[in-house]
Subunit: 345 residues, 2 copies
Amino acid sequence: MDKINVGVVGALGAVGNEMIKTLEKSGLNIDELRPLDTFDNAGKVISFKGKQVGVKIAELNAFKGLDLALFSAGATASRMLAPIAIEEGAVVVDNSSAWRMVDHVPLVVPEVNPEALKEHKGLIANPNCSTIQMLVALKPLHSAYGIKRIVVSTYQAVSGSGIAAINELSSQTKNILENKKVDVSVYPHQIAFNALPQIDVFLENGYTKEEMKMINETHKILDPEIKVCPTAVRVPVFRSHSESINVELISDFSIGEVIKLLEESEGITVVDDIDNLKYPLAIEAEGKNNVYVGRIRRDSTIQNGLNLWVVADNLRKGAALNAVQIAEKLVEMNLHKKKKVKELV
Amino acid sequence: MDKINVGVVGALGAVGNEMIKTLEKSGLNIDELRPLDTFDNAGKVISFKGKQVGVKIAELNAFKGLDLALFSAGATASRMLAPIAIEEGAVVVDNSSAWRMVDHVPLVVPEVNPEALKEHKGLIANPNCSTIQMLVALKPLHSAYGIKRIVVSTYQAVSGSGIAAINELSSQTKNILENKKVDVSVYPHQIAFNALPQIDVFLENGYTKEEMKMINETHKILDPEIKVCPTAVRVPVFRSHSESINVELISDFSIGEVIKLLEESEGITVVDDIDNLKYPLAIEAEGKNNVYVGRIRRDSTIQNGLNLWVVADNLRKGAALNAVQIAEKLVEMNLHKKKKVKELV
């Protein structure tokens, strides 16, 4: 396999850190790993395959010689720097929301729509964390039975908001246990020992941006005909998102068939042994690659109704791992050298 | 108003303690307040209207002279002791699940089905916490538009499992922050920084008992025709349950109408000002009597679809307050002296 040079923009963030750990174990033959971050973090050192690597500033000249650049530094950074990286010849895999809904930008979950990669024009978008795990779990069901409608309520971890949010949950929790005052900064309200029915900003239709991402990205990645009704909720969990998913399928199924289908699907682990009180748990998904599915049971209130409890590590499959898997697929399909096209940048 | 003698069984539990606080502020004209608990707790002292009252043992002779007995000491204690209390002439309001689904036992939420009290035969059951708040929020909508189907995912606080669970969440949380070993005792898995998709035991159909309570109690209290599909989840919150509710109504509505209807309904406070990031929150419902409703928005994936976020203090409206409100209604309707009927006991 070709040796390639890979940049990680936002290398010291929660997702960037996870990207570097995932790249270490990936099938990619990496010659240079180049961690990039803000001016404040330049000069810090990260470890990659036993070597110490200095963090460089993510600026105009930072992308020379890179084959791939994985971005996870927020939408503004992606909007500014991804075109430069592409101009320099790198293929960008972007974890922000900046380009996801742009028409000619493929939005990819490798288990779901790898073929979309062929259309890339220098940039591939990594979907939202809560969408990725939902679609990995639902793709096999859509292929087998067709999905008509999804009603989903999420239980999302704070690490989706970065390291500051992880620290905020820790410090608020500690202060509450010690009867001290709680400071609120990352979220609009206290997250410790609470449940916040708001993720990202509110839109005019009364839904949050996070909720609309789950709708729009499902349409783009899986099928524009699927109806999606989401409620996105932040809970005091450090890592791994859980989702309570109610699905209305088009054709009939048996629970046995569904379990078998999910067990045989790539990227899914079924944990559904209620006799022994086994079901997917956020704390057990942490650090794991797969999407965990359990509480698989018929919803008899509608025809072909099904309930699922779906859990995945939001920093891995929900972000870093999916981005690295996209990078691996690009190399495997020899699409990592595809020329940039002016229309994107 | 008649002076009455009121017993509280399980007086030192999380709900019992709240019952006593609620009775203090209630409209009832209480002559004697008699706290009852296990042998281990007898002799302890609670405070009621500025007086210290000794806790007595909940046993055969404990109920003499009581007009009302509020039970919150679990299903086994209710099964054993409620018949004795009734035999002694008290009317029992029982917070356990022991009698809820018994045919001739009224299951009452005062805002929803107060008329059912007239049929009581010495015992009235208090519904499950997660059912109560859902039905307070949905009753006005059912009356106005008719409800066809409910899909609900809950975010339930640990206080629903009693003081031991509150302590377990505290101690597990503290240990995790200090990198110490976590002990698991009340729940089958760690609750701190986690989400457990199991409340109460599993039944043969793959649903938990908590989930089946939400279905069966909705049918008994509100309407047996309403289809209910629940997923009950425990989250690391000390107090107040949150619920993500998706409703399919029978006739059409406008969001403005729904908000007005809910605002004018007894026991409901609408908190739905997304421009100012206001919505119901568990930590803000704590210690409050009302059921809080927000995130009121149309679900356009079905005809007449509606989403709500419903929060209430599980120890108050979900348990103690609802029981005391039943007691108040009984006195108001002069049903607290109704003779016991042999068929119950």
